[in-house]
Amino acid sequence: MGLKVKDLYKKYGEKVVVDHVSFELPEPGVYALLGSNGAGKSTTIRMTLGMLEKTGGEVTWNDGPLNFDTCNIGYLAEERGLYPKYSLMDQIRYFGELRGVKGKELTDRIAYWAERLKVEEYLYPEKAAELEAKQREEEARAMGIEPEQPKSGLQLKKKMKPKSADQLSKGNQQKIQFLIALLSDPELIVLDEPFSGLDPVNADILKEVVREQIAAGKYIIMSSHQMEVVEEFCTDITILHRSKVVLSGNLNEIKKSFGRVNLKLKVERDVSAEIEAAGVEILSEKEHEYNLRVTGDQQANQLLKSLIEKNIPVVKFDLSELSLHEIFVREVGDEVSETEQ
């Protein structure tokens, strides 16, 4: 059950752009599809969702074919946009209708998401104008001055004119795209770089929505270059590099497999000599606070023992696993640098 991607393969002429990629979402949760630029993530997503014809491989949803007839799909593409000149409400309704939501249900869902994502003022300009007028009136009364006369018909009409996408900031456009992706209450949600370009306030709004979707038991595929975001949400990952899967599995298991090799050490004097004597690699050092790379628990313990034996007071000794960022760089970093050079 769930989503199964097996041996996905795509070739343009002689060039292989996706080379036998497989992954699986057997139960609801967030799955991360990671990779350097040009690794084949977008092509994998396009083939998975049936937008591109596969050269080989199979994609199944609940053991049947995956397409928008068999699965309610919500997709926030990396290459995303809106019709710049059309009214926002017109295009949201259009996308909603294309996904089979209509009538009152569609109206209610738009209203819900507009409020949830804080974009009401762009979708309901007449309400925003009324609110603004009321607010001004209250402010004037509070200051003890005569409220301003209501705006003339033409001014009001201009203010209440439906908003188009080109009148919105990039962040607000992204929230509208997010709204469109979630409008049909999809079972499978694909989010490609969902938080890129958002300010912290709007990023938090969207993150909260993603958490709600996870809690609601949705299947989510997330692709992002923001590794901290992936770590925050994802349980399983696949890393692609040069069209191939270089790492795949449960994130915790992967981290465990690399061992606890990150050591943060804070002491009150220079201990470079002791560290070098223990054969530990210094990654960085600032005012007796060291970021070290150890081979494992044993080497870290030996270092700690040698410091204690020399009566060196240890302020901080924090042994941890590699971060996803480090794992990613370790798997694809060197080759990416070589390619870029």
Binding site: R46, M51, L52, N67, Y75, L76, E79, G81, K85, L98
Partner: protein, 453 residues
């Protein structure tokens, strides 16, 4: 699984929603509306404007109309094959013809319908004789000039002779008719010359339902209409189809609607907009013409069919001609429309749209030029009626004008339908790939590569 996705590319689920949304947004777009209004006004008032220009021209023409002194021939026999009562006396308006030049009035003869056959009169023609045959045609009256196969009469004289008789016959029949509505209708039908013919040509000419001038007028009018409408709708379609790509909406849409439904929904919406514009333009032009004729007593017969964006050609030749012209116009627009759709989806940016529009414009220009010249040539007309895109411009007028038969017309339609289906299938195979590609200009190689997925 692969089989499944292949079946899906021809699905039209969601077509109606795409069509409705595209049409609604087009109607809300001020740019489209302004161009549609200008088009409607042009169609509605082109004929009155042309009449205004032709008015001064026609008076000049009248002062320079043919006289007997312009006709360098020994004898001229006029055969009246119409129910209009005219006599030899009516035909001699200029008795002051100098004896040394031109046709003498006493050498004019007149034969009434049924007295003797045209064939017999043609057989009796001498080397310096002219036979003028006035006959009825589907649309009005026709004046044909005939000379013997070994005639010494020069073409200019024969031309002047038909012109002379046409002018007099036109004046006489107007005098004989009352000026009620029916008479005006008969008058507005006009008189046309069937051209300059030898006896052998005349027999072939009997197959034709239109004279040469009328045929060329209708041909020019039709090719002009197809060219203008195809070019206009092509630029609209390229812009509409490219909209998703330039707005980076292609991926979001492709998880909601099948590519074929998306493409055809947009194309048909834009064609509907163009057809709607034409329909309003035609209706308004008919209303304007009716008002001009009934209220201002304007006679539009002076305005050449081919000199205007003349939509009256659709309604002037009966129901069959109307159907043939409309079917051809739709086939042409759909074919150019689907081609524009494929080319539009191969563009990435708004700036690239010009290249796509140019390709369609070039193709329609080839059809237009070939239609304008080849369509009037009896030897080429059958070939041109069968070869798209030239056939879009030539086949229906050639059929209505009696230059090709129904079997050639149906074959032409069948070829065009096969081509249209092939274009639709090509669009289905390539649209999804082209929409997601980053190609900057429409190239044949990228379109062909897209057929492989």
């Amino acid at each position: 699984m692969k089989q499944n996705s292949r079946e899906n590319i021809y699905s039209l689920t969601g077509f109606g929603k795409v069509f409705r949304f595209t049409l609604q947004q087009t109607l809300k777009n001020k740019g489209f509306l302004v161009s549609a209004i200008l088009m409607i006004l042009m169609m509605a008032f082109m004929k009155p404007l042309m009449y205004a220009f032709a008015g001064s021209g026609s008076s000049t023409a009248a002062s320079m109309s043919a006289t007997l002194r312009d006709i360098d021939a020994e004898k001229m026999c006029i055969y009246n094959g119409t129910p209009v009562e005219i006599s030899l006396g009516d035909m001699v308006t200029d008795t002051s013809t100098p004896e040394d030049k031109g046709l003498k009035p006493e050498n004019l003869s007149f034969v009434e319908n049924g007295m003797i056959s045209v064939d017999t009169l043609a057989d009796e023609l001498g080397a310096r004789d002219i036979l003028i045959v006035i006959s009825t045609s589907e649309k009005g009256y026709k004046v044909n000039g005939i000379i013997s196969d070994s005639s010494e009469v020069d073409i200019r004289s024969l031309d002047k002779a038909t012109e002379y008789v046409q002018k007099i016959f036109d004046d006489v029949r107007k005098k004989k008719l009352g000026l009620d509505d029916e008479s005006l209708k008969a008058l507005s039908g006009g008189v046309s010359t069937g051209g300059v013919l030898t006896e052998a040509d005349y027999k072939l000419e009997q197959e034709k339902t239109m004279g040469k001038n009328e045929y060329s007028g209708v041909m020019i009018a039709f090719v002009l209409i197809v060219l203008v409408v195809a070019s206009l709708s092509s630029s609209y379609i390229v812009a509409a189809v490219n909209e998703e790509k330039s707005s980076k909406l292609a991926e979001s849409l492709l998880v909601s609607v099948r590519p074929m439904a998306l493409l055809l929904g947009k194309i048909i919406a834009m064609l509907s907009f163009v057809f709607g514009t034409i329909l309003i333009g035609v209706s308004l032009s008919m209303v304007v013409e009716k008002i001009m004729v009934s209220v201002f007593k304007v006679d539009f017969s002076n305005v050449s069919q081919g000199s205007t964006f003349n939509m009256a050609i659709f309604t002037s030749y009966g129901v069959v001609a109307f159907i043939v012209l409309v079917v051809e116009l739709m086939l042409a627009l759909c074919s150019f429309g689907v081609l524009s759709g494929i080319l539009g989806s191969a563009c990435s940016k708004t700036e690239d749209q010009q290249s796509a529009t140019t390709v369609v414009m070039m193709m329609s220009m080839i059809g237009y030029i070939a239609g304008m010249y080849g369509g009037l040539n009896d030897n080429l007309i059958t070939i041109f009626s069968l070869v798209p895109p030239i056939s879009y411009f030539t086949a229906p007028v050639a059929y209505i004008g009696g230059r090709i038969g129904i079997e050639i017309l149906l074959t032409s339609f069948a070829i065009q339908i096969v081509l249209l289906v092939a274009l639709v299938m090509l669009a289905a195979k390539t649209y999804r790939v082209l929409l997601l590609s980053d190609s900057s200009r429409p190239k044949l190689s990228s379109i062909l590569a897209a057929t492989k997925g």
